[in-house]
């Protein structure tokens, strides 16, 4: 017998089971609709976000009147209108909140992710592994999408395969030698924080004198060369005098910079001392700092040298406004240099008063949807692009890059949410072996498939998350790495933990980091070697919320590349060492997965923000490797379907789900 399209037994388990939907955004709205229409009755949904006007083109459970309200709550109310008999619980909260512990996850037959960021995906992955609950993962970007199923011990987990790292930029590219608009945009976002937000030593914007490319050049040499150059230009004496003074000031700043940024006045203090005078800030950034860069003339031997911009000179320029597309939107127009100089000036004034209103010691937080903040970044980035002879960009385009906006449409989310429910039905029927990863392509592949189902891969026995005894090896300098960076940059950011406890395996069980607030704060500013940590030391790291234990082997290394604080051994797939065939010590480790036989010595999951979706592969066995051009936000990337030598797997898919975070990370 059938109930609707479903067999009676299946329809019964659908209406009686309890499921968790993580995220009530683009995929989440469509998913909630599909679930209730398929007969699911007991649904819990969680989302910490509120509704924005830019959601309304696809998140159809929301209307304009709901802008600013909780997504989870409004989604629940809208769904109840067409399915009042559903029993929906909405949480306006983060799934990473410790209230949602392993016991909470065990309440569900099934968890479905409809997320947009890797941190939450990593976390839910671990919670579902710990609770041994099947997880359906999904993601979309523009026309592309993907759905897959994760079940402990049977399939790859979300973190089994390394994710491509987001493109990061060396500090000196951002500070000295930008060659693409994105470098100027990253610089402008840093500048916003340096002036108005939280100052971060990793987000320096002034010229970097330690640039290895310019290193042999002494400042004095450059100044002499410049003086000579300026004399040869036979300029008016007043102008000459001004320029000379600027160069000497810059040189002094540079000299103090060289002994470690210690004596230098911070950009914010300097700006404050001028009363946030837009003209002074303009001239410092686009004239003085650029002239200083010009003194590092090794940099410009093979590059086009930047051209300093003087506020007074810009004011003399004719106002030219180029329009990108006819009578386009204001946002899509490219203003001229003068237009951006004016926008810079206006936005500095607005932000100055916003900061003043917040009171002493307050900070602004950059947000792409805050108009003056976006204006400031648009103007500063474009002025820098002009200085470095790049074509300027519209506010619309700058916003895409600065906000890392992934285009999103209703139809892709609808398709993906439909596929999620179809996988859910297979899980409820007990047909886990029928589950597939399904890719949605923009165009059909050579086998005519627009939707491509692929068999699920077995777990990676070396995975640092789902292996029976997860283990990684990290290279760092024990004399330089602070306990604080171990906690924040390595354990939290890199290895996705929420509240790690760290114990040194030194026979004494020294506690290095405690998740109890304040217990080990005194250790934070000390470096690892102060605790007897040296080459070959091992740390046992536990995250009780995630029910996850990771053994970290440390290798002391003095010659890491500039700007690199640590390196995970085997991070790059091609550098991964073969899995060692070492007998396993039989220790009881809390992750609970006893299936896999080998310990792992390598880890592979970079944590960063811009995921790329790989859309290829086919269920039928194939020896051919194919390439897919993936388009995201007008940028096409060519991705290769890499073959692995892995256990019986003919192809390798990087399981990549697009995410939508605001941050661009630059290496500094």
């Amino acid at each position: 017998m059938l109930v609707g399209s479903l067999r009676k037994e299946l329809a019964d388990s659908v209406s009686s089971c309890r499921v968790l939907v993580v995220g009530a955004g683009g995929i989440g709205c469509e998913l909630l609709k599909n679930l209730v229409l398929t007969g699911f009755k007991n649904i819990e949904v969680i989302d910490l976000d509120t509704i924005d006007v830019s959601n309304l083109n696809r998140q159809f459970l929301f209307q304009k009147k709901h802008v600013g309200k909780s997504k989870a709550q409004v989604a629940k109310e809208s769904v109840l209108q067409f399915c009042p008999e559903a029993n929906i619980t909405a949480y306006h909260d983060s799934i990473m909140n410790p209230d949602y512990n392993v016991e909470f996850f065990k309440n569900f037959m099934l968890v479905m992710n409809a997320l947009d960021n890797r941190a939450a995906r990593n976390h839910v992955n671990r919670m579902c592994l710990a609770a041994n609950i099947p997880l359906i993962e999904s993601g979309t970007a523009g026309y592309l999408g993907q759905v897959t199923v994760i079940k402990k011990g049977l399939t790859e987990c979300y973190e089994c395969q390394p994710k491509p790292t987001q493109k990061t930029f060396p500090g000196c590219t951002i500070r000295n030698t930008p060659s693409e608009p994105i470098h100027c945009i990253v610089w402008a976002k840093y500048l916003y924080n340096q002036l108005f937000g939280e100052e971060d030593a990793d987000q320096e914007v002034s010229p970097d004198t330690a640039d290895p490319e310019a290193s042999c050049e002494s400042i004095i040499c450059s100044v002499c060369r410049w003086l000579f150059y300026l004399c040869s230009q036979s300029m008016g004496s007043n102008d000459f005098d001004k320029r000379l003074r600027a160069i000497l000031t810059a040189a002094r700043a540079g000299a103090s910079n060289q002994d470690g940024d210690i004596k230098r006045v911070s950009t914010k203090d300097w700006a404050r001392s001028t009363g946030y005078d837009p003209v002074k800030i303009f001239n410092k950034l686009f004239k003085d700092d650029i002239m200083y860069l010009l003194t590092m003339d090794k940099l410009w031997k093979k590059r086009k040298a930047p051209q300093p911009l003087d506020w007074a000179v810009v004011q003399e320029m004719a106002y030219i406004q180029e329009e990108v597309s006819g009578q386009g939107l204001r946002d899509q127009q490219v203003l001229g240099v003068k237009g951006y100089a004016q926008l810079f000036c206006n936005s500095v004034e607005t932000l100055r008063s916003q900061l003043a209103e917040k009171g002493e010691g307050a900070q602004l937080v950059w947000d792409k949807d805050d108009p003056p903040a976006m204006d400031f970044v648009t103007a500063a980035a474009n002025l820098r692009m002009h200085v470095f002879s790049m074509n300027m960009k519209s506010r619309f385009d700058v916003k895409s890059m600065a906000g890392n906006i992934i285009p999103a449409i209703a139809t892709t989310n609808a398709v993906i949410a439909g596929l999620i429910v179809l996988e859910a039905l297979k899980i409820l029927s007990g047909d886990l072996e029928q589950c597939r990863t399904v890719f949605l392509n923009k165009q059909p592949n050579p086998r005519k498939k627009l939707l491509v189902p692929c068999a699920l891969d077995p777990p990676n026995t070396n995975c640092y998350v789902c292996a029976s005894k997860p283990e990684v090896t990290v290279k760092l300098n024990v004399h330089k790495t602070l306990v604080q960076s171990l906690q924040d940059k390595i354990l939290k950011e890199k290895f996705g933990m929420v509240a790690p406890d760290v114990q040194i395996e030194d026979g004494k069980g020294t506690i290095l980091i405690s998740s109890e607030e304040g217990e080990t704060d005194a250790n934070n500013s000390k470096c690892l070697s102060e605790f007897g940590i040296r080459n070959g030391s091992r740390l046992q790291v536990d995250d009780f919320l995630q029910d996850y234990t990771l053994l970290v082997n440390l290798l002391h290394c003095e010659d890491l590349e500039k700007d690199v604080e640590f390196e995970v051994v085997g991070d790059a797939p091609d550098k991964a060492p073969p899995a060692p065939n070492v007998p396993e010590e039989d220790k009881n480790i809390a992750n609970g997965n006893q299936d896999s036989a080998l310990p792992s010595t390598s880890s592979k999951v970079p944590i960063e923000k811009d995921d790329v979706l790989i859309v290829d592969s086919d269920e039928e066995p194939s020896s051919s490797t194919m390439e897919a051009a993936v388009e995201m936000g007008g940028v096409k990337r060519k991705l290769e379907d890499v073959e692995t030598g892995g256990a019986g797997s003919k192809r390798k898919r990087l399981f990549e789900l697009p995410i939508n975070d605001d941050d661009i990370i630059a290496l500094d």
């Binding site: 229409l37 209307q63 060659s179 093979k302 209703a410 596929l419 179809l422």
Partner: protein
Amino acid sequence: MLDTVEKEDTVISEEEAAQYDRQIRLWGLDAQKRLRGSHVLLVGLRGLGAEVAKNLILAGVKGLTLLDHEEVTEESCRAQFLIPVGSEGQNRAQASLERAQYLNPMVDVKADTEPVESKPDEFFLQFDAVCLTGCPRDLMIRIDQICSQKNVKVFCGDVFGYHGYMFSNLGPEHHYVEEKLKAVKPSEGTSDGPDTKKPKVDPSETTMVKKTASFCSLKEALEIDWTSEKAKASLKRTPADYFLLQVAPLPSPFAPSVLLKFRTDKGRDPQPSSFADDSTILRQIRDDVLEAQGLASDLIPDEFVSYCFSEMAPVCAVVGGVLGQEIVKALSQRDAPHRNFFFFDGLKGSGVVDYFATK
């Protein structure tokens, strides 16, 4: 109509730009403007129709007419989220109107409760695109012929249980643009010395390329003679859904059409409430149509009857998503359209695009 009516003067307001931001970043302002000037007729307001309506209204067409003369029943709104509870007995299009309008107040949404069969030819020509769901095959062929002569884009689609399909006819010459990366010339900047005035090339800059695609009529798409050698050779690669769904010529004695034949014979689709009887009829129709073609009946295994009843909501979402996007592409004249069928098998998660034409 797209080519004859000047749509370029449609102005996008700042309000629209804010609401449509995430899709303008995907298909561009020009595509959004064309969409903003388009009128669409949607026939059939069951599960699939509701999905298509939602997708078109959210995308921001100028106007959408919902046409359905039938009444709301429990079965017909199983996968229908636009119809409020307690609307049994009301007209389906009318009952869907209010919720549909809430999705996007900037779109002009109308309901039409007259039977589509009663509409004169001219009626269809006032639209830029017509999308037919839940219609009998001969009606689809008739409307396809009327529309394709006047450059009205035609779309058809249906969902039967775990299976669904869509068809499109954008005419013999459909013009569209595609975004291509600008070819970056090998850098010569260094030889010019550091003082070149030339702006640097942004590696992500793209350019628009004009292209044309041609489509056949629905009638031609259905008149394939599966007894021909060539057709037999391609049979291996043909999705079984082609036969399972209604895709075959009505008048032909070789018509391999199971579900549409059921619809034609019975004047309705298979009902879960009469599962046993309808299953027997479906298997019989399957045997008849495949045998008439000289095709083995195991092309469509017996189990198919368990998976083709009612409209399954997730299958409506998938087919309605693909169908909705194809309509958006056609109206905005942006990106290569899928030619000319899409078949979805919800059991396998497989979605195939294939071109069927007699020539």
